[in-house]
Point group: C2
Chain length 403, copies 2
């Protein structure tokens, strides 16, 4: 599928609306039949929350697309062929990604991540690994950071490497890696960004970005990582995305190996040679991106180590902050003596719940019975669905679930 | 059980006989009802093989015991209370060990082994680990070598540490570790040796000795080890003895970490903290030395990695060379026109086999029927048993197994 220019503009306006993150975006376009419908519903949704939900104007969205085009970039939507299929399968995949460079995002890829203040040995091993993986036909994905990331990109330049940025396409961080970006683009690689043009990356944008690094890759190799470092966030995302996790061991006396040694103890595959990655990923790549998760491999399942992963704070990624929780949830009930102007959403909700029961009922009928506009009914039903209160039976037919 | 002085002398004479190793020793005393009976059978066994089997004289054995006593040592037999129970359970446990120092061999122990040319980081981590394990109440066992071994002993001196030597008690290797031996003995530790007083250790004695290091221990921690190094032999013995194996990770660029990283990939427990050893061994020690093997722990079973272990050459240990294979096996059949003097053992064997069948028959009756002396009959039956040709039914009753 390919978006029309108009659709792409709507998608961009919706995802650039404050409070709309990838999850909310998906729910909204499903419920309102597309971005256009969701944009129309914005004022209602905002009024119900007592806040202003203002999507950027068409002109602002067109400006972003034009600025990106001047850098040689374009926006790719989740449903489009060029969008990385592995990323598409992840929770909270960005609806649009800004891409510069070659259309290589559906080549089999592996992420290499690690410390910014890497050791000499860590850098040397990164180089060996990145070169070897590139020579074996894998695309090396990393985060353009100092240290391990930069070395991974450099060593895999000839094979075409993918950098995922935390800021906008025009806000390279660190700034002196502009040279590296040029080299990546010049040698058939690609640069991805989720955030808008002009977006200067803040601290929380880096962990948020990490889900894309793991998300476009069949596996993530952590080369050096202190405890609670950003690379472990990438590893946690990889696990949640049901991807392979590899870690390079190091001396117990080196704090940069604490994170990787921990990962190995939890079940990550120990990597001391290129072949250790290829042996695991080869069969998985052969099965293709749509195949089921790999079967158990007679070692601890990283997914079943909640105590370990709970220590690695995904909240830092702040992904949910982009999905305003109020946006899709009912406000607090107000006291009964409060003025009934502006229109009282809690009343709407109570009235609709009262009209619902275990027998399926049509949305239109519900709206008529309640004397409430269809858009408000749809919004309340969306809230109720998110709360797990109703079941949908297709064709706008719903029923109340017993609590 | 406690040996009498006479029995201990017989045991010593038998195990010090050329061609008698721990396995042959055990078979012989079982078949001949004790070391005295086996010593009596030696001339017969030798004659049948056309070689001289000469146990040392009583006087020679007494000299060894006296020389050991002058060093403050004594011989302990497998059946005696002071003999390490964990070692007793192993295949090819030495029938006698020479012990100097405190009777601490039945305290819970853990082996720490590694490279002689250890890295500074490896030595520092050894120190941390050995001290921590000692403080946790475990006895640290090692091989008195330069590098990791020496550091492990030194750091665990206050807790009482056990050194296992490859040569005799008076042949400390390396010689300048005599000071370390004195320290070990002075601080409540112990020094073990399988080989006789005066035995200068040769290359093959070190891997042979390694089975004792792993054998007295609940688990073996390999700290730094190159591929195919002696420490991996200790690890392989530990696996075959159904003991825990731990390994300390290191940089893939450090050859001294290749062996340990390999071990971790094969299922050894990665150790970067003292607690990683204690967490595994604690419950096993609690169950005690007689308990069954640990249940599967959701990681690869080291015992099921034949390809890996096949690369680690136990033949270097040359354990079987001490068990002369000819000693307990029949000679090649001779051509029928060969002279019948000396007495023809192949004939004896053929006659006895012909007299045996699936019905159990007594040994005495068999000897009478064959017209062969009871001692020769017993020897032939031993050979047939080792070949899996006969079944024993107790009280000297045997039957032929169908092929």
């Amino acid at each position: 599928m390919q978006l029309t220019d108009a659709q792409r503009l709507d998608w961009l306006r919706l995802i650039r609306t404050d409070g709309v993150g990838p999850r909310t975006f998906r729910i909204l376009i499903n419920r309102f039949g597309g971005a256009a419908g969701a944009l129309e519903a914005m004022p209602d949704l905002g009024r119900r929350q007592g806040k202003r939900l203002e999507p950027p104007t068409r002109a602002q969205a067109e400006d972003e697309i034009a600025a990106l085009a001047r850098l040689g970039g374009r926006l790719i939507a989740t449903d489009e062929a060029e969008y990385p299929r592995l990323l598409q399968q992840t929770d909270a995949a960005p609806p649009l990604i800004a891409l510069r460079g070659a259309p290589i995002l559906n080549r089999p890829a592996v992420a290499l991540v690690g410390s910014r203040n890497a050791s000499t040995a860590g850098l040397a091993f990164t180089e060996r690994l990145a070169r070897g993986l590139g020579e074996a036909g894998l695309t090396v994905v990393s985060g353009l950071a100092r240290g391990i990331d930069a070395r991974a990109h450099k060593a895999s330049l000839p094979a075409g490497t993918v950098a995922v940025m935390a800021g906008g396409q025009d806000k390279i961080y660190p700034a002196n890696h502009a040279v590296l970006v040029d080299a990546i683009l010049g040698e058939g690689g690609a640069v991805l960004a989720e955030m808008p043009m002009g977006w200067v990356p803040r601290g929380r944008d880096f962990p948020r970005r990490n889900r894309i690094i793991s998300g476009v890759s069949y596996g993530t190799v952590v080369i050096e990582a202190a405890r609670r470092s950003g690379s472990l966030i990438t590893a946690r995302y990889a696990v949640e995305q049901n991807r392979e996790v590899f870690a390079v061991p190091g001396s117990p006396l080196d704090p940069r190996a604490e994170g990787t040694n921990d990962l190995i103890r939890q079940g990550a595959t120990l990597v001391s040679e290129v072949a250790h990655v290829l042996d695991v990923l080869g069969p998985i790549i052969e099965r293709g991106p749509e195949a089921d998760a790999a079967p158990a491999r007679g070692r601890p399942d990283l997914r079943e180590q909640p105590d370990f992963w709970d220590e690695i704070d995904l909240d830092a990624a702040n992904l949910d902050a982009h999905d305003d929780p109020d946006l899709l949830r009912p406000p607090e009930p107000v006291a009964s003596d409060s003025p009934h102007d502006p229109p009282e959403p809690a009343d709407d909700r109570a009235r609709i719940v009262a009209l619902l029961g275990p027998s399926p009922v049509g949305t239109d009928e519900l709206a008529r019975s309640a004397g409430i506009g269809i858009r408000v009914v749809q919004t309340v039903l969306l809230e109720l669905e998110l709360d797990g209160r109703i079941e949908r039976h297709g064709s706008g037919v719903v029923s109340l679930l017993s609590r």
